[in-house]
């Protein structure tokens, strides 16, 4: 039953499988294995079975809601779910039960998806390893001593470990693509504004974007198609028609020009990663793509700009957690003491660090030097991509400079931040990107190929990923969890 969604729903159609049997099977796997992986924070067994039964009735009546009806999915615990606690991996929201569904969750429910539970993450999506959840770390199904990446590590590990057929995460600086690469699954960050952020607990509003994790590119297209499109509740969502991603997939890469950025092959990167990515590019060339070198020199300033913009916006977005309205409250003698104690107890070290950084960056007298400057860098990054995309259709690069590292290996926050060096420019510029498995290291750890596209050109990004996936054997390999 551990198969892609499009195969599951084919089986539902034929009557070979039922959504209930599949949901039960996934729930059983979660019960048996998740203690070791730690992908989930909350499993909603009863909800899932009820939704599966409804789906089953629809399939039986020959009236499914679409290609996701009965698909067992997991949601990163930053997506608000009505009546189901949404913790953001933080003590602050340990008992927070939202009174509303995120737009994405609404759309998935309307498509008949079966939500299995909420997945683990670095607290408030700040991190690249899912070690910094306030509850427990998540482990990489390929090697339990290693991290699954982050911050959406729970969702990536769930899909890799067969604990969900597909999942959703959020990507602010690589939080979907990096864990997808580390866990050997497909992960996509759509164009900023392609998917409504309403109900996504904000980390950095101008960078956050929701996207899918999937076992293959076809499922990625299905999952993206279900959530993409304008939402009047999100003023930053784009009012552009959503193409039929599935229909675009088989068009191949013949005739496409792919850009290879010099700046994405850097000193100190894992040679196994570099080799795998270069081999992947050869495969794409073999499929008819033209490869051209491009230069994105501002890449080297991206990390610095990102670590101004993100903490600045985060410090603002997280100001609401003060113990007054919902979530944790630690009593104090007066209001200020209550608020201070609540925030000190509710937030972990990384969250506190970023709140302080961001507060500083926005302070009177420093704004221009930090936030203002970072925004200028951002404009340059965007222009550079624009210039590159005038010459090439897509950009191909490694998703990460290295494979999954060991738990506790990156104690120094800076070395952790460097993990996102190839994914951050995509967030700064708002362009779509996918990470698709492109091989394994000698130690058997997955490597990811990143494909970036023009704004709103997800269809072409997916098309190239699909052509590559079809031409390579990687997706057949599974971690041996049991």
């Amino acid at each position: 039953m551990h198969r892609p969604i499009h195969e599951l729903t084919d089986a539902y159609r034929r009557g070979d499988l039922t959504p209930t049997a599949v949901a039960e099977s996934y729930l059983a796997r979660i019960a048996a294995l998740d203690e070791r992986v730690g992908a989930y924070l909350t499993v909603v067994r009863e909800h899932a079975l009820a939704a599966a039964q409804e789906s089953e009735r629809r399939w039986r009546a020959g009236a499914p809601l679409g290609p996701l009806d009965g698909a067992p999915l997991a949601l990163k615990d930053v997506l608000c779910t009505r009546g189901v606690r949404t913790t953001c991996g933080s003590k602050m929201l340990e008992a927070f039960v939202p009174p509303y569904d995120a737009t994405v969750v609404e759309r998935l429910r309307a498509a008949g998806a079966v939500v299995l539970g909420k997945t683990n993450l670095d607290e408030f999506a700040m991190g690249s390893s899912t070690e910094h959840s306030a509850f427990h770390p998540t482990r990489n199904p390929w090697d339990l001593s290693r991290v699954p990446g982050g911050s959406s590590g729970g969702s990536a590990a769930a899909v890799a470990g067969g604990l969900a057929a597909g999942a959703f995460g959020s990507d602010t600086g690589g939080s979907i693509r990096q864990p997808a690469a580390f866990c050997g699954v497909v992960g996509m960050k759509p164009t900023y504004g392609r998917v409504s952020r309403y109900g996504l607990v904000a980390l950095a509003s101008s960078l956050d974007q929701i996207g899918p994790f999937a076992q293959d590119v076809e499922d990625t297209a299905l999952l993206l198609g279900a959530i993409a499109g304008h939402d009047r509740r999100d003023s930053t969502s784009i009012a552009a028609p959503v193409p039929d991603y599935m229909a675009e997939l088989p068009r191949g890469v013949d005739g496409l020009t792919l850009g290879l950025p010099d700046e994405y092959f850097i000193d100190g990167m894992d040679p196994e990663v570099e080799r795998a990515v270069r081999e992947a590019i050869d495969v794409l060339r073999g499929l008819g793509a033209r490869i051209e070198r491009v230069s994105l020199p501002t890449t080297r300033h991206s990390l610095a700009a990102y670590y101004i913009i993100l903490p600045a916006e985060a410090s603002s977005n997280l100001a609401r957690y003060d113990g007054v309205k919902y979530g944790l409250r630690v009593p104090g003698r007066d209001l200020v003491e209550m608020e201070s104690r609540t925030r000190a107890a509710g937030f972990g070290a990384e969250v506190r660090r970023r709140i302080m950084l961001g507060t500083y960056a926005l302070s009177a007298g420093y704004y221009d030097a930090y936030y203002g400057k970072a925004q200028s860098v951002r404009t340059l990054v965007r222009r550079e991509f624009g210039a590159a995309f005038a010459r090439v259709d897509l950009i191909v690069a490694p998703t990460t400079p290295n494979v999954a590292f060991k738990h506790g290996e990156k104690e120094d926050p800076l070395s952790m931040y460097l993990n996102d060096v190839f994914t951050i420019p995509g967030n700064l510029s708002g362009i779509p990107g996918v990470s698709v498995p492109c091989g394994f290291s000698g130690a058997g750890l997955p490597i990811g190929l990143q494909i970036l596209g023009r704004p709103l050109d997800e269809a072409r990004v997916l098309r190239a990923a699909y052509a590559y996936e079809k031409a390579t054997p990687w997706r057949a390999r599974r971690p041996e969890l049991v």
């Binding site: 996504l200 930053t236 410090s315």
Partner: protein, 493 residues
């Protein structure tokens, strides 16, 4: 009370007006005042995790309408920004406001003080969201508990900042009055200061006369009535003058007006001033204002209070004072014009009808209804047509002015028209004791013989006098009343 002549007072006002939009600034919640606590809230205005704001188009329209009325430049694009400070009535601990790129800039408002007109610059006008309300005993810092009501949280607010061009507390109060009248005319704000629909903060500084650079300013908060604006600024001007006279330096600070005690007290000094850490609101895209839309709003602007006031003086010949009272709201000005029109102004028989209408509105209608309450005026049981009906009865002598005042009260209470009440209750002119007594006195004076006859026991002489009175009143007199009054008079002669 006055500031020493050697100092010039410099005042600027920041006025916050709640916009009369049906829904809040960034969500669909309703905005009715006085609803049960937290009954008009949703995840957005409660600042729940994951929510996003959506700009209320109507609020933008109201902002533009006001900006145009003040002759501001409406910026082709503006932006919202986050203003940060921690306070439990503000659910996100930041307020969505506008900072570097406001909706509109550089306008003016004309005010009148002591018969002279002055133009006060308006620096900027921007939109933002209101905060909730806290309920606790004592100060928030020391209270054991506080309850928060988010009904007001997210209500659309418009902040308008004047230039520091007001030169006295009287001018400040006049500015606020004129400002409020414009807002009420534009139907963008109900102007209710008691309910907090209109709130005012003031910046005030003193400088020696002749000096061009500004003195150190003090901000005064909690000015929730015209009277408080004037009193607080008078107090503060005096306080600053005394301090300067004593050779002290004015501390830049925020002071709170304690209306009950009649003084301002320090809230926080500049060193403890908030760093609001403004930055552009990333959840909203810059607002681009379509020229055509702005032009459309401009074309639909109503005649503003000042223009209408001037027209009332020239067109109806009413005194400036009357014109000012009559234009305190659009509804009242409309009421006045409709009444004048309903009465008609056929030349020759015109008398001074417009002034008469004005008198009746000022002395009677406004004694019963608040002239700035649009709804109360619009729903007045005495419609302009009925007021005209009443005035017609006075004009044609059916009733006296005195009786008419009683009829007015009855019209207010019953909603009936004047003629019906007069007919039903026999309130015609001749039922007016005073008027009738006068007629009787003159009839008696004209018929001394009949009086003599009566005194000599010729009772029929009284009948002749009654007949004379009836004749003098055109037969409309109430005979019983005439008899009683006549007997009374005859017995005293």
């Amino acid at each position: 009370m006055t500031t020493p002549e050697r100092y010039e007072v410099v005042i600027g006002l920041e006025v916050h007006a709640q916009l009369r939009t049906k829904s809040k600034m960034f969500c669909g919640c309703t905005t009715t005042f006085g609803a049960p606590p937290n009954s008009q809230t949703c995840p957005v205005c409660q600042g729940m995790p994951g929510v996003l704001p959506v700009v209320n188009r109507r609020a933008v329209e109201f902002g533009i309408r006001t900006a145009l009325a003040f002759s501001c430049r409406v910026n082709p694009a503006c932006r919202f920004a986050r203003k940060h400070y921690y306070y439990p009535d503000m659910p996100k601990n930041y307020q969505i406001s506008q900072y570097e790129e406001p909706l509109a800039e550089d306008g003016f408002l004309e005010i009148e003080v002591d018969g002279g007109a002055r133009t006060i610059g308006i620096q900027r006008l921007h939109l933002e969201e209101d905060v909730g309300k806290l309920l606790h005993e004592g100060t928030l810092e020391t209270a054991q508990a506080s309850l928060v009501d988010f009904n007001r949280s997210g209500v659309a607010l418009m902040e308008t900042v004047s230039r520091p061009e007001l030169r006295s507390p009287e001018e400040a109060a006049a500015y606020l009055r004129a400002f409020r009248a414009v807002l009420i005319f534009l139907e963008v704000c109900d102007g209710n200061m008691e309910e907090g629909s209109l709130r005012c903060d003031a910046n005030i500084s003193l400088r020696p006369r002749g000096q061009t650079e500004l003195g150190t300013k003090v901000e005064i908060k909690n000015l929730n009535s015209f009277r408080n604006v004037q009193r607080a600024l008078e107090f503060e001007a005096r306080r600053q003058a005394q301090a300067l006279d004593a050779g002290e330096r004015i501390v830049q600070e925020t002071r709170l007006w304690e209306a009950d005690r009649g003084y301002t007290r320090s809230m926080r000094s500049k060193e403890f001033a908030h760093d609001y850490r403004y930055f552009p609101e990333p959840d909203l895209v810059p607002l681009r204002l379509d020229r055509a839309w702005v032009d459309e709003i401009r074309a639909a602007l109503p005649e503003l209070p000042r223009a209408r006031r001037q027209r009332f003086v020239t067109q109806y010949g009413v005194p400036a004072y009357d014109a000012e009272v009559l234009t305190q709201s659009r509804a009242l000005a409309d009421y006045y014009e409709a009444s004048v029109q309903a009465w008609g102004s056929s030349p020759g028989n015109r008398g001074d009808r417009p002034k008469t209408v004005s008198n009746w509105i000022m002395s009677e209608l406004l004694a019963a209804l608040p002239g700035d309450d649009e709804l109360a005026i619009q729903r007045s049981p005495i419609t302009p047509a009925r007021l005209a009906g009443l005035l017609r009865l006075i004009e044609d002598g059916t009733i006296s002015g005195k009786i008419a005042k009683d009829v007015f009260q009855k019209m207010l209470a019953s909603g009936d028209d004047a003629a019906a009440i007069v007919g039903r209750e026999g309130l015609t002119q001749v039922a007016d004791e005073a008027a009738l007594s006068q007629i009787i006195v003159s009839v008696m004076a004209a018929n001394p013989k009949a009086i003599d006859d009566f005194k000599r026991g010729k009772k029929a002489a009284k009948g002749a006098l009654v007949g004379q009175v009836m004749k003098a009143t055109g037969g409309k007199a109430n005979p019983a009343l005439v008899n009683r009054l006549l007997e009374d008079k005859l017995s005293k002669t």
